[in-house]
């Protein structure tokens, strides 16, 4: 077995993940390398879900009965856990949404309906980057169409990094919000937060960081980031589907208008008018994803027990090894950084002129699950003049042996279409 410095004991960890024992296509054990799309779930998270539904299930907040009190304590307890996980100054800054996409849309909508000084309108500008996930593009395109605000973009360098050379033109005195991803889901690039935040603060723009590909993989400290909002999603970090998080600075959450209206988010309702509950409830209309929050809390416990720094070190080692091995495959071109520095564990590539769809299909037949396509980041494909990529992405349970399996699999792809 390949030994790399910094590796976790994946053999032990894999025992926690029932799906990793799955056998596909007549006897092939799955090699799951689609972690940037979604992660697998440890037994501990599934147990928390089952225990919630079997022992404590009730609607939260408005009940005096024991189940309602337990469910509320579990739901709000999950908020405490998430707040600690991201080092939020206050638990009330943690809003539960349905996924990162809702979190990002929430901010875009708040700013569209906000009063000065936050209001985005036709006199103002929005700045994003060419490597954003569609979920951090389309909300701003919609906001721009609906308000007349101008949408500006950071471009990319040839080696898959943000081009900040024109930062003063992209972020200007007119910019109200700068939204960018901490880690690219297609290229793995880790972006330079400090430079962007500094410029944004200089011009008085708010900063929203899409941490969907960061929260699962590295220590996340919202205070250290210096942003105003941070969004991420539960299902990529060992949590259930159906839950996302938006963290926002308390003063902003107080000042900004609500998004969805309904039960739970009000203080008092009459036919004449309504007043809103304080954050986070103001932004959580309707019955929240209770079980899913509990599951996310369990996921956060699980990741914390292993240690986010250890997980980051493990992934760094795997990524370094994977890049080295992949570059040995003839005709393989990595789209994005070709070293493991400032880079996450998602690696996109093209293989000669074999279409990624075909690459993925032949890998699948060998039990290797990768993702193919534009990975909800089509502007990146356009930028590099390719229709799509094949992406292998790793997580805390990924092993060097799985990298080896991928490389063998790719050799078979080349033979098949050779």
């Amino acid at each position: 077995m390949t030994q790399l410095p910094g590796l976790l004991d994946t053999e032990a960890i894999r025992k926690d993940f029932p799906l990793l024992d799955r056998v596909v296509h007549d006897g092939k054990k799955i090699v799951y390398l689609d972690n940037a799309a979604t992660s697998q779930k440890p037994r501990q998270v599934l147990d928390a879900l089952n225990e919630y539904y079997e022992q404590h299930n009730a609607n939260v907040h408005r009940g005096v009965h024991v189940l309602a009190e337990e469910a509320t304590a579990l739901y709000e307890g999950a908020r405490d856990k998430v707040a600690a996980f991201i080092n939020a100054p206050s638990r009330n800054e943690v809003i539960f949404t349905k996924n990162a996409s809702e979190s990002l849309n929430l901010v875009a909508n708040m700013l569209g309906w906000a009063d000065e000084p936050y209001r985005v309108d036709s006199e103002t500008e929005i700045a994003i980057t060419e490597m954003e996930h569609h979920s951090n593009i389309v909300p701003w395109q919609l906001l721009s169409q609906r308000t007349g605000a101008k949408l500006k973009w950071f471009g990319l360098t040839d080696d898959g990094r943000l081009d900040l050379s024109n930062i003063e033109e992209v972020i200007t005195e007119k910019t109200k919000i700068v939204s960018f991803t901490l880690v690219s889901n297609i290229m793995g690039t880790v972006n330079p937060v400090e430079a962007i935040v500094r410029r944004a603060q200089d011009v008085g723009a708010l900063v929203l960081i899409d941490a969907s590909q960061a929260a699962p993989h590295m220590p996340l400290d919202v205070q250290a980031l210096g942003a105003d909002f941070v969004a991420f999603t539960g299902h990529k970090m060992c949590g259930p589907t159906g839950i996302g998080v938006l963290w926002g600075r308390q003063e902003l959450l107080e000042d900004l208008p609500p998004f969805l209206g309904g039960g739970e988010m009000i203080e008092t309702v009459s036919m004449h008018s309504s007043t809103y509950a304080p954050a986070p409830h103001k932004f959580e209309a309707g019955t929240p994803p209770i079980a899913q929050a509990v599951g996310l809390g369990a996921a956060v416990d699980y990741l914390t027990a292993i240690g986010m720094d250890k997980i980051a070190a493990h992934e760094h080692a795997i990524t370094e090894y994977a890049i080295k091995r992949l570059l040995e495959v003839p005709d393989l071109r990595i789209i994005g950084p070709t070293t493991a520095e400032d880079r996450g564990a998602a690696i996109s590539f093209v293989l000669g002129d074999i279409h990624p769809h075909d690459v993925g299909q032949v890998l699948d037949e060998q039990g290797i699950a990768v993702r193919v396509g534009h990975h909800c980041a089509r502007p990146v494909c356009l930028r590099y003049g390719i229709p799509a990529t094949t992406r292998a992405s790793f997580y805390l349970y990924s092993s060097p042996a799985e990298v080896d399996a991928l490389v063998v699999g790719l050799e078979n792809v080349r033979k098949f279409f050779g």
């Binding site: 907040h61 408005r62 009940g63 005096v64 309602a68 009190e69 509320t72 304590a73 203080e267 008092t268």
Partner: protein, 153 residues
């Protein structure tokens, strides 16, 4: 029955026979609502710069929130502001103790009848009821103080 630890005789008595209820003249008025159950209180504070000369209130809600207002009135009216604030802080601590704080004699001396609420602290959904009038009082007092300062400034 655990219930008796919440619904102490004394609480039920204050609920049925509220002390000092009704709105009278004051220096500041606030209206607080508990959104989880709709309990409401309107509360006025009269403060002569030293002593809380009156705390009057009107409200609707459960026995805990209504008894709370009555006991607050009994306990704080006539007190010096600093002392009242000390009482409020201790009461808050007791209520947030999740049933883990056993009131001792020292506490009883400060909180008097209000120690009867110790049992309520075991019921998270009801802690807000118990605190409703206390939070309203804190808020109204801050306003009255602000006004007083503005007048002297």
């Amino acid at each position: 029955m655990k219930l008796e630890s919440m619904y102490q005789e004394l609480i039920l008595d204050h609920y049925k026979h509220p002390r000092g209820r009704g709105l009278r003249d004051g220096d500041a008025e606030v209206h607080h609502v508990n959104p989880t159950c709709g309990d409401e209180i309107t509360l006025r504070v009269k403060y002569d710069g030293e002593t809380l000369t009156d705390i009057s209130y009107e409200g609707q809600g459960c026995s805990i929130s209504q008894a709370g207002a009555s006991i607050l009135n009994e306990l704080l009216v006539g007190k010096q502001l600093a002392e009242a604030q000390k009482i409020q802080a201790l009461f808050l601590e007791l209520m947030q103790s999740k049933g883990k704080l056993e009131p001792d004699e020292a506490m009883e001396e400060v909180l008097e009848d209000a120690v009867a609420f110790a049992g309520v602290s075991k019921y998270p959904a009801r802690v807000k009821c118990a605190l409703l009038s206390w939070m309203a009082w804190k808020d109204a007092t801050a306003q009255a103080l602000g006004d007083a300062e503005r007048k002297t400034a």
